[in-house]
Symmetry: C2
Subunit: 286 residues, 2 copies
Amino acid sequence: MTVCIIGLGLIGGSIGLELKTKRFSDRVIGVEKNPVYAQIALERGLVDEVTKLVEGIQQADLIILAIPVDGILSLLPFVLDYVTHQAVTDVGSTKMSIAEMVKDHPKRSNYVPSHPMAGTEFSGPEAAISGLFNKKVGIICDMALSNPKALESITNLYMALNMRLIFMSSKEHDLHTAYVSHISHLTSFALALTVLDKEQNEKNILNLASGGFDSTVRLAASSADMWVPVFDQNRENVVEVMNTYIEKMTLIKDLIQAGETNKVRDLIKKANIIQKTLKLNPWNQK
Amino acid sequence: MTVCIIGLGLIGGSIGLELKTKRFSDRVIGVEKNPVYAQIALERGLVDEVTKLVEGIQQADLIILAIPVDGILSLLPFVLDYVTHQAVTDVGSTKMSIAEMVKDHPKRSNYVPSHPMAGTEFSGPEAAISGLFNKKVGIICDMALSNPKALESITNLYMALNMRLIFMSSKEHDLHTAYVSHISHLTSFALALTVLDKEQNEKNILNLASGGFDSTVRLAASSADMWVPVFDQNRENVVEVMNTYIEKMTLIKDLIQAGETNKVRDLIKKANIIQKTLKLNPWNQK
């Protein structure tokens, strides 16, 4: 089987690396508009060759779009125009706008919307790593709209990445990812901005950064090119979760300010439950 | 040298473990009001013996208070009442209220306020681990108010833990820790509360929790008994940083809602700088 990966960044590059290691495909073609990325991907052996878009599509059995979600929105319809027998998926962090964009495309059933819930705060082909997807969750959306052969191809792809599959609608996907992924990035960005504001006057603050700070601010290094279109496409859910978050933060702040220590304690004890919930979750057993 | 550790939780227990391993002291005495904790600490060899408070103080050369900061506020004056030659320190996450409490104590100069910037989201002696303090930052406050012998003892203690020392006033300490430690915990608590609110209706949300979410919500498991008094004692700084944080979050939300993608991009690119700053920081070289 020949796989064509469009976009050789962190995710596309890591998929290439994995597929070549696992021998899922005998040939991995990359398509990449940034010549420096293409060069690095070739040098690192993330793909076997780099071709132009249409040639890549035509030679492949399975096509993966691994570019930012605004790019997927622009490119996916054109990719489907060239598709004959190929299965096509994208790995974007939003699903509804993309599903909407291609809903009437004659090749819609060759397309399987998906989302591997894995990543790091780094980007580009130099950030590609092996094992990135191992035991993480992969989501496949709106499966009734894809043909069985395409579904089988994409399911096998995720199996090769050693991911655990969950199926849901693209609407559910966008709601859930706002709560367990998009908001985490937003809280990290806000934390970074808060500390950097102060640090202009207080040069030494960052000398004190501890493990706890590192962990909560880690995602603040994430790529604007990837995340801005995600927040934009998932605007309604993202704004809803941010409103709830700001409410919670304001409530805690007001209680601290008022010296209501018992009420602060109750909230913290309620927050503590999340770790129990995460540990009970069979997907999270290490 | 005999060391007495008052409070055998995560921090006190990990200090005991380290001091015994490094042979900094030939005898480590523990004082612990919770008999289950005392038993676990003895069984795990975190201390050599457990005694009552006054006996522990009298037999020790160096005394470490490793209890929540409200406990330190209550106990430190009584500990100093029994001190003759001993050096005393505490490892609390606030410093100003504690410094204020003992500022007129006749044995004030035997006391060296300190704060090892290390920890995990877990608590109790079963959470004590070796290497917890390795290469982390230890802060010593208001050094001019301590006598040279006490300062030397506490400096050597931190050297034995392999920490890097920074000196500042307790006022600076409380401001800086609000920005690089206290707010991180607050953002995690708020994130947990936000997601748990939604999860009552959306059972599957946590199935999707990814590495990014785990990392930002990790601190939400932290102990209420430890953190409530920290936020209370450092109320003014904590409320200031929370106000700034809520402002940043609200700004990002308003821009996302208004579809101002270029402005969201500018903020994210600004937030990205924090990782560069953290990496440039010599204390954070791994």
